[in-house]
Assembly symmetry: C2
Homo-oligomer: 213 residues x 2
Amino acid sequence: MGKIIRIGIVEDNPYMREGWEAFLDIEDDMCVVGSFESFEDAWDSKKFQTCDIIIMDIDLPGITGIEGVQKLKKEGLKAEVIMATIFDDDENIFNALKAGAVGYLLKKTSPEDLVIAIRQANEGGSPMTPNIARKIIQTFHIKALPKEDALTGRELEILQELATGRSYAEIGKKVFLSVDGVRHHIRSIYKKLQVHSRSEAVSKGLSRNLIAV
Amino acid sequence: MGKIIRIGIVEDNPYMREGWEAFLDIEDDMCVVGSFESFEDAWDSKKFQTCDIIIMDIDLPGITGIEGVQKLKKEGLKAEVIMATIFDDDENIFNALKAGAVGYLLKKTSPEDLVIAIRQANEGGSPMTPNIARKIIQTFHIKALPKEDALTGRELEILQELATGRSYAEIGKKVFLSVDGVRHHIRSIYKKLQVHSRSEAVSKGLSRNLIAV
DNA sequence: TGTATCCCTGCATAATGATGTGGTTTTAAA
DNA sequence: TTTAAAACCACATCATTATGCAGGGATACA
């Protein structure tokens, strides 16, 4: 069963890098095929292209880890990237994930946990600390409106249609309403969401998870 | 340090429910203060209001677990809800999280892992299996456009402005462009995203994570 | 039997948006 | 040095949207 997991490391701190490398190489099912101090170095190496899992720092000299993941995904490499950094601020986390990382660990993670994380990532999971998971989960929660401003069923229905780009006339046809009926609801939606245009309403509706695409 | 974690269980299968209850009560730092076979039962109980953590099934008779979390959050209970169910389809997962759950476990999870999950949730984390985490992470990844249709820097900048509801004139002022310049870019954005209206562009831009709110 | 909330209709008008056609300049890769 | 792509400006025209005002019917709750 289990093939050897080919691992790449991109990390500018030599102690960290060599520490990881030594530790991971002990594992029977893992092999560090390349370890680099900058993304540019890594990118130029043939070995890098063959990795299954890449452990990448964010704060690299030159191309940052986040730009790196972006590039790597754009070029179609199939390696899964785990970010391992000292930063746990929202911005870095979300940017890394948007760019295509599948996991996000802090550098204080123990080598034992890193090993577990690598196996998880290799099996289609997404390793991350429970706290980071919580930050991510929270982006899903519906941002409640003040009770008196909660959208009614009909309003939600129409907001959903607004997001698709249909004209009032088309929406009316779809939900069996006159154009003026549609207008009425939209007015009400705008007031509750405190917006003055269709795109703003869509933007707010999506970001508050009131509607989905 | 650690206060006792007050736990509520809502689960209609009596074997499951009693099994969990028995197992969790063994832990020194946990106490099952209530265990119910329907959300209605739970909701009527005073004990339920005092829970720190609630383990909830999705497939309950009457009010479903997802509706339950929703209600519970709307009413302002501070308990954290972990969904524990047999379903791991995307729809259930995302609906549960949107409704306000902080964790999502499958029923095949071992009691030992359940204990760990409860502690994690109680400490501000979000317990979930690595596979479910991956599904969630994937919603963050930027959905790549065919290379020739990738938005340019200026286009992204303007798409971002479109989402805020500004008029072309306002956008122009903001990014130092004539109204016609703005128009030009918007045309290009529409073509690349294959849309024909502002709200559609915003919707697509947000859902593909090209822009953020 | 009020009061509230939701749902719906109609009309009017000014502002904004979508789309076409025809240009120039700068920048970066081939 | 050609070529391509991005970034910009302008004018024109029709469609759509935002917003004001003024109503009616249904249902539910106190």
